[in-house]
């Protein structure tokens, strides 16, 4: 019964008893006001609940029905003075609560003029964050200690931006813009880790190459349990182009940052994949600037598009956990797929293109059922081409 996850979470609960049993970490300017108000209300709650239960249990015991106490005492059945008196303290307390809640809400909704704007698009079932210089990511990158405002809109249904450690939430509604602001307090650990170089980069790249080789071998013989030979790894490392190696360094940096980032959720039910409409908040040093968007090779651009648009449902990394949707971790070109109507299709470029621009044309058979369609992506023709280029070889860029 005690699997490792459960064991860890019990440990987390015990560790939390010291202070964070009821709230997550506090990481934004809104949190301290929020936490103070919440604590105040909780003290009131505990006081009244305990008082009511103690009195109730005490009465049940003291006035229990016995031979000696077989009828109620003849006491007044109403008392206007008493009834007014016990209405007053709760009234005074809730007036304070209202005031704290009101003034905090005003702070939370009054956006500083100099806030750094980030455009947020919500769409079934992913977030897209676009910075003023055009830098786009599936995670939310923000500088620490500076006000940030999210300008949010939805392409389809209502979503809701929720970052628990910042204590902020706002619905993202189609047809209108909604805004939310905060000042992130602490840079994420390793958010701006220096790019790997030299030996460290080599050993990271070697790991990736080894995984690649293992995967290739497994593809040939799914039953085998292959290992990558040192010679093969060395050969591939030696022949790798410097740009490609640099890309590995950048990938590594993003991977590390996202691992330590804060969890961001969609909090408004938005359909089938609502519970995986997630992202990470990565808080950078105050001096951070969004990287200049660089145009890479079509494959690299395709990969970016894939990570933003497709990766929450389609897996390409064999070490990532599987889900029920078509899996690309073994590649798909040339495979033969069975469609929902029973026909079969050999995957080629035309099929990939058609599936992107018209998801309803050919629906693959599988556990997602025949009434679940891949959403139509807002891509221009060039982007569709880049995506197809990537999908033809999702594991590695063709030399």
């Amino acid at each position: 019964m005690l699997n490792p996850t459960l064991h860890n979470s019990i440990g987390a609960v015990l560790a939390n008893f010291g202070g964070r049993l009821v709230l997550p970490e506090a990481e934004s300017n809104h949190a301290s006001y929020y936490d103070g108000t919440f604590d105040f209300i909780n003290y009131v709650t505990v006081f009244f609940f305990v008082a009511i239960i103690v009195v109730m249990v005490w009465f049940v015991w003291k006035y229990r029905r016995t031979a000696a106490n077989d009828r109620a005492a003849d006491v007044a059945s109403h008392n206007t003075g008493l009834e007014l008196a016990w209405s007053l303290p709760p009234l005074v307390i809730v007036v304070f609560m209202f005031y704290f809640g009101f003034s905090g809400y005003m702070k939370m909704t009054t956006i500083p003029a100099n806030a750094y704007p980030i455009d947020v698009t919500g769409q079934k079932w992913k977030w897209t964050f676009t910075h003023p210089n055009g830098y786009t990511s599936g995670n939310l990158d923000v500088p620490a200690d500076k006000p940030v405002v999210l300008n949010m809109h939805s392409n389809d249904v209502i979503h809701s931006m929720y970052i628990p450690v910042f204590r902020v939430k706002k619905d993202v509604v189609p047809g209108r813009y909604s805004k939310l602001w905060f000042i992130a307090e602490n840079p994420t650990k390793n958010a701006d880790a220096p790019l790997l170089e030299g030996d460290k980069l080599d050993s990271f790249v070697r790991e990736k190459i080894a995984a690649e080789i293992v995967q290739e071998l497994k593809q040939k013989d799914p039953e085998s349990n292959p290992t990558a030979s040192e010679d093969e790894i060395n050969a591939r490392l030696a022949s790798m182009k410097p740009e490609k190696k640099k890309q590995y360094a950048v990938d590594h940096q993003l991977e590390v940052a996202a691992k330590n980032g804060h969890q961001l959720y969609c909090a408004e039910f938005c359909g089938q994949q609502h519970s995986v409409m997630l992202a990470k908040v990565i808080v950078h040093e105050p001096s951070w600037r969004a990287p200049k968007p660089v145009k890479g090779t079509p494959w690299q651009e395709g990969k970016k598009l894939f990570m933003i648009n497709c990766s929450s449902c389609h897996r390409i990394d064999p070490s990532a956990p599987p889900n029920i949707y078509p899996d690309f971790s073994q590649g798909i070109m040339g495979a033969t797929h069975t469609m929902a109507d029973g026909s079969s299709v050999k995957v080629d470029e035309n099929y990939l293109h058609e599936s992107i621009v018209n998801p309803a044309a050919k629906v693959r058979q599988g556990p997602w059922g025949s009434n679940t369609l891949m959403p139509l992506l807002p891509l221009n023709p060039q982007q569709v081409n880049e995506l197809v280029t990537f999908l033809k070889s999702p594991q590695k860029e063709p030399e």
Binding site: F49, M56, R176, G271, H274, T372, L373
Partner: protein, 571 residues
Amino acid sequence: MTTTQSSIDTIYGPDAEPNYLNAERGLWSWLTTLDHKRIGIMYLMGILGSFALGGFAAIMVRTEHLSSAATAAADQGTIMTPDTYNSMFTLHGAAMVFLFIIPGIPAALGNFILPVLLGAKDVAFPRLNLMSFYLWMGGAIFFVMALLMGGLDTGWTFYTPYSSGHSPFGGVVPAVFGAFVLGFSSILTAVNFLATMHTLRAPGMGWFEMPLFCWSLYATAVIQILATPVLAITLLLLIAERVLHVGIFDPALGGDPVLFQHFFWFYSHPAVYIMILPAMGVVSELIATYSHKEIFGYKFIAFSSLAIALLGFLVWGHHMFVSGQSALAGTIFSLITFTIAIPSAVKVFNWLATMYKGSIELTNGMLYGLSFIWVFSLGGLTGLPLATMVTDVHLHDTYFVVAHFHYVMVGGTVFAFLGGLHHWWPKMFGKMASRLGGFIAWVLIFGGFNLTFFPQFLMGSQGMPRRYWHYQPEFHVYHLISSIGAYIQLAGFITLAVVLLQSLIKGRKAAANPWGGTTLEWQTTSPPPHLNFDEANMPVAGNPYDYENIEHNADDDEYVRTRPQSTARSH
């Protein structure tokens, strides 16, 4: 046809004195009955069936969460796909809200007991009463078929534009239509109850001699009549948009999705009081009867029900603090929400004051009454951070909200319903249920309930969003405890079902007044005759809570009245 009657004969014997159960024979006599008691029993069966359906979905949801610790456990497999999960929580919410909680106490317990409490022979419009039952059945069948066959994944709230333009399931229109039909049943029952209370009170029964349960049904009926039409209109607009693509709520068609939320909560927040006010009425009866003492602050309790009913119409926007409604609107809604907290809180003080210097008997009915105070207090108090604007921002749409409304709606309403069921069971069927068996069921239900929902406060305030098929591993332990609590509750409800069914077959015969109650239903036989009271001995009403002249007869374990009820209240 003969089965129903022969089982009734088995229970009561062919020579039993005439009562409403054996007055007419055969299934047809039930299906065409105009007797409010039989209609109440039929409602009770329908409602318990709906509760079982909603409970099944809840157990499925909790079982899914045993094993869905997000990424880490994904390869260990889950029992259902996201589509199935989304349908299950929708089925749970919709069945429980529309088919169980809203009609539960008024239509089942209210139908059976209200005319008897008033000393009347029936409701004012018996045929209308039967019609509203068939509307309920029709709506319910439509609703359940839609959920099971077409499928529905919108949640019971049907938020647009997901429901009107995006949900891929076929069940949206039939389910919405089912809810529309159920609304008519609700309105007709309310009209009937109001007319009954206005015109059919026994001689001597002024407004302030009505038992408090009647006052709560009065306030509930007012809400049902005024709020339900708004829901009906909203649901029709939703159907118009989904089927005919008339742009009302979907921005892609030129509509406004937040408008739907205003319309929806304009009904559904008052509906929360449709659920809780009758429960408070039942609890007032339980606390007074089992304390054997006059209720404290009768008029305050009566008027606070009406005040809650009216103020309940002015607070719907507190469901929408993060929806994008204006800060000014949010501020006003927050303020009014706090004003409604006061009468609710003071009711609790009144019940405690009723127990003060009483003669308190811990029957199973009383245990549910006391559980209500526990659960409702916690549910009400955890409403405070949700009414406070700044704290609601973080808690909205998390498990904290889920825990809060389960404490209020389920803990509150279900416990009051079960208390009322135990209280009036002898009157309904003329049989006493096993006290020990009922106690065991109570321990399991009350313990299991708290074990299920208390951890949800903690995980919600830590940031666990609701309606999540997969969740982050750090929440696993809370989900595990919660699911174990759900299984304990399941065991409790099965035990309770066995105990109640067994009482029908083997239960001791119930006396006319087994609990020492003073309201009029205890002045007739258990079960009552077809027209509720013996024609020769029609009741005369007085102070409904006059415990002075009730004596316990230990030989027959029943209570008898030594003098007629006093007409004026003593103090």
